[in-house]
């Protein structure tokens, strides 16, 4: 009964924590259920009349919720909030995640009553302003990608991938090409790519990129024509561009041409659109479908893990197969949601309603704020910042693929790990210095990856401080002063957490 003993240890730890461990402004905070329950809730509601129920079922007697007053609730969540690091705290170079400034104007706009309190099934005559927001965002995303068919429904990047692949599948099926079952995916791809392809019942054929960090025409041909085939079994390819090593796929147009000749579609994972927005259009380098992460490129807040929003953009050849609904404009200038009955070629409905509308609004507010000139500057500054970091750290850390990079740069722990300091230690050292770590151990094509994406919303001072800390790490490792790295972080709300214990003996909810 090892498991029980250890859970008891957690309980002992928690009672000790909660009673004794608060110091200065560092508050320990227990769970809502561990607070002494009050005799009234934190809201005042009118008294029910206790009329006879018409539910047809017995009334529930207990639920199992805690009960505390409003000031206790506020204190609880405010104290919890102080244990989080956020983009408003400081540097957040999380590669492939685009942690940029989240303008508060966007929040204000999303809370306008005319947007916040409208229902997705209201008569369309009463929500013309909301439909106009969606229609304009569709057009702008179409313009920025040169992929003019846009559906805003997908709820996140992974949902956009699903939408995109299913759009491709629908197109193949309706064009007598339903036998195509293979999706080509480079080994450097995000894990969502193969997971999405599997959800669509596709099989994955891997394009190896190992040596140069890029997909070459040669490697692409080997995958496309594998086993002596002619590529006619290939439904499409999923490529992130710029790729997950922070590099632009130089030979992408040639690969796309070969793919198109074989009858496949090019799906671009738009996670890294921040390097291109306002400057380069994916539709002009061979892309047929792309999702856009509004929570990356277009600044909608990450919210501690969501909501995201992942609209997809497609070219004319795929527009008919987009998910439903999309917003269309009628001859009289009014807007409506185009249902499956109006466009039977659609791949169907992906979500309860038309998408994460609040995120569409925030993205539109961001785009209007930046404009064409600002967006171009966004990508240029993002690329400049990443290359500046690369140029300053290339002597101190191993650079697996030579630059220039795009909006993020890839380093590894190759020069440090032999003396026992790994990417994980470096990440935790950054925490000790008041910064969020970079993306670690991704992409998988190199060992000990550190993927650094500063974004355009960092000042040179902020970037220079990061460079200084990283150089100090490299210098300490070189001088043999390595023991301390395994203990970091020391000053964060928690030291390193025991993830093995969490996975071996899962405690996933509070129990009395």
């Amino acid at each position: 009964m090892v498991a029980e003993r250890k859970i008891e240890t957690i309980e002992k730890a928690s009672s000790m924590n909660m009673m004794d461990q608060t110091r200065g402004l560092n508050y320990e905070e227990n769970l809502l259920w561990e607070k002494a329950p009050g005799d009234h809730p934190g809201v005042d509601l009118p008294a029910p009349q206790n009329s006879t129920l018409r539910t047809g079922l017995a009334a529930r007697s207990t639920v199992g919720l805690p009960q505390v007053s409003e000031p206790q609730v506020l204190r609880h969540f405010v104290r919890l909030s102080t244990k989080n690091y956020s983009i408003d705290h400081g540097f957040f170079p999380l590669g492939s995640c685009t942690m940029k400034h989240n303008p508060r104007l966007n929040e204000k706009v999303a809370r306008m009553p005319g947007f916040a309190h409208i229902h997705p099934l209201q008569p369309e005559s009463t929500v013309q302003g909301a439909l106009r927001v969606m229609y304009e965002l569709q057009n702008i995303l179409g313009e920025l990608t040169n992929l003019r068919g846009v559906c805003l429904t997908p709820a996140a990047g992974a949902h956009g991938e699903l939408a995109g692949l299913m759009t491709i599948r629908r197109a193949h099926e309706l064009n007598g090409q339903g036998h195509r079952k293979v999706i080509l995916v480079p080994d450097s791809a995000h894990g969502t790519n193969p997971a999405t392809a599997a959800m669509c019942d596709y099989t994955i054929r891997v394009i190896p990129t190992k040596d140069g960090g890029r997909v070459t025409v040669e490697a692409f041909k080997e995958a496309l024509y594998a086993n002596g085939g002619d590529g006619k079994d290939v439904a499409g390819m999923m490529v992130t561009n710029p790729n997950t090593c922070g590099l632009f796929e130089r030979e992408i147009i040639e690969c796309a041409d070969l793919l198109h000749k074989a009858g496949g579609y090019f799906y671009c994972d738009g996670a890294n659109f921040n390097a291109l927005v306002g400057k380069i259009r994916p539709g002009d380098f061979g892309v047929d479908v792309m999702h856009i992460n509004l929570h990356k490129t277009f600044s909608t807040p990450h919210g501690g893990g969501g909501p995201g929003s992942g609209p997809i953009c497609v070219n004319e050849s795929l527009r008919a197969y987009l998910p439903s609904p999309v917003v269309v404009q009628d001859k009289d200038g009014s807007y409506h949601l185009e249902g499956v009955d109006e466009r039977p070629t659609s791949m169907g409905r992906l979500k309860g309603f038309q998408g994460q509308f609040g995120m569409h609004l925030r993205a539109l507010a961001y785009i209007l704020s930046h404009g064409a000139d600002g967006l171009k500057q966004v990508s240029e500054d993002a690329v400049l910042n990443a290359n500046y970091i690369l140029s300053q750290l290339k002597e101190d850390f191993y650079v697996p693929f030579a630059g220039p990079c795009m909006h993020e740069c890839l380093l590894t722990d190759k020069l440090q790990k032999d003396v026992g300091v790994t990417t994980l230690d470096i990440a935790k050292t950054l925490i000790e210095h008041g910064m969020h770590p970079m993306t670690v151990f991704f992409p998988l094509v190199v060992s000990g990856a550190m993927l650094i994406e500063p974004t355009e919303t960092e000042s040179k001072e902020s970037i220079d401080r990061f460079i200084t800390v990283m150089k100090a790490v490299a210098a300490d490792v070189k001088s043999g002063d390595t023991a301390k790295f395994h203990d970091f972080p020391l000053s964060a709300p928690r030291r390193r957490l025991d993830e093995t214990k969490a996975a071996r003996e899962p405690v996933l909810r509070w129990k009395a």
């Binding site: 909030s81 929040e107 009463t126 309860g352 994460q356 993830e499």
Partner: protein, 425 residues
Amino acid sequence: MRYLPQTQKSRAEMLAAIGVASVDDLYRDVPKSAFIQGYARIDNHKGELEVERILGAYANENQPAGEGPFFLGAGCYNHHVPASVDYIIQRSEFLTAYTPYQPEIAQGTLQVIFEFQTMIAVLTGQDIANASMYDGATAAAEAALMAMRVTKRDKVVVGNALHPHYRETLATYIGNQSGAVLTEGQPDPQTACVIIQTPDFTGTPHALAEWRKLCDETGALLVVVVNEIVSLGLLPAPVEADIVCGEAQSVGVAMSYGGPHLGFFATKEKFLRQMPGRLCGMTLDADGKRGFVLTLNTREQHIRREKATSNICTNQGLMALAFTVHMALLGEGGFKQLARLNHEAAILLADSLAKVPGVKVINKCFFNEFVVELPKSAASVVRELAQQGVIAGYPFEDNRLLVCATEMTTDTDIGIFCEALREVL
């Protein structure tokens, strides 16, 4: 350009440090043909005031719930959100944090997820719940896919009146699996799961014992969908289910024209490893202090890739926070009281509508939503009432109208609605 800290001077310094003449030298790997000449064909940048004016004007073209009587539900509900909720979710530390992959500096988000998981588990009468899903419809689709994995069967049965959009989403997701079948009726020995919505789309609550029995006889899983989570403060917990999923927008989250909302997903412990989505668990740190981490990650796409339980890699984090704050404020007593107030508002609405000539209340039983039959096209009634500022409900099957009342519904609203109906019928 207010969001960009770099200056002409700092840009020049950095270019010099890199050793290139211009930023375009950094783009040398990009084919020339892909560059936009000049700027994209959209307007140039605008100040905060201008953007607010433009979007404020769009907002004013809409008719929001607060401006008149409002009786629309059908999977998205107009409830009151306490002021504290929005204050908390706008705190930078929650709003602008990332997914808690670095738990030492994300304990706030993680403890909230742990509390959210606990709340969903107790509400649904299940052992465990995940950190949330996109929305109710996708949660139901993921439940069906999970049932197919658990049972290794590929038939999904819809047992009662499921929200039509959930049904369509389910068809989209299931349609991806070769050999999968989506059908109506009762489970048989080939069935992976039977899906029961309660209250169902027409507002009727359902007892689950009979369905549990049918599932035990056939080996199918029982998936229960709840899209008005406030109902769980009055109706029995669906303890009979193997999976309970649905929509929790009603607590803490604005309608916001359909999203972001809050899907939830709960199940029995024995199905833990087949469950999609993020999970947060309790553990200890190096000093022996209690803490929380994302756990059981091996189910997920970033590890399992094509063998993952789902491709999902976000949760509706901020909405889950809003839910948790609102639910903490409601507490045990307030939540049950809120549910009862909703039911009583619906009773008053039903009794009032029943007195309008030509209107027939169809439901015998309901929670806060029910169907009325009208003597003419419900869609045209909805349009006519909208012109008078009344959002009447969801029209379907020609002359049926699904109407909803919540704690937001006043006696005056009901009076205006009935009067307007009398005029148009």
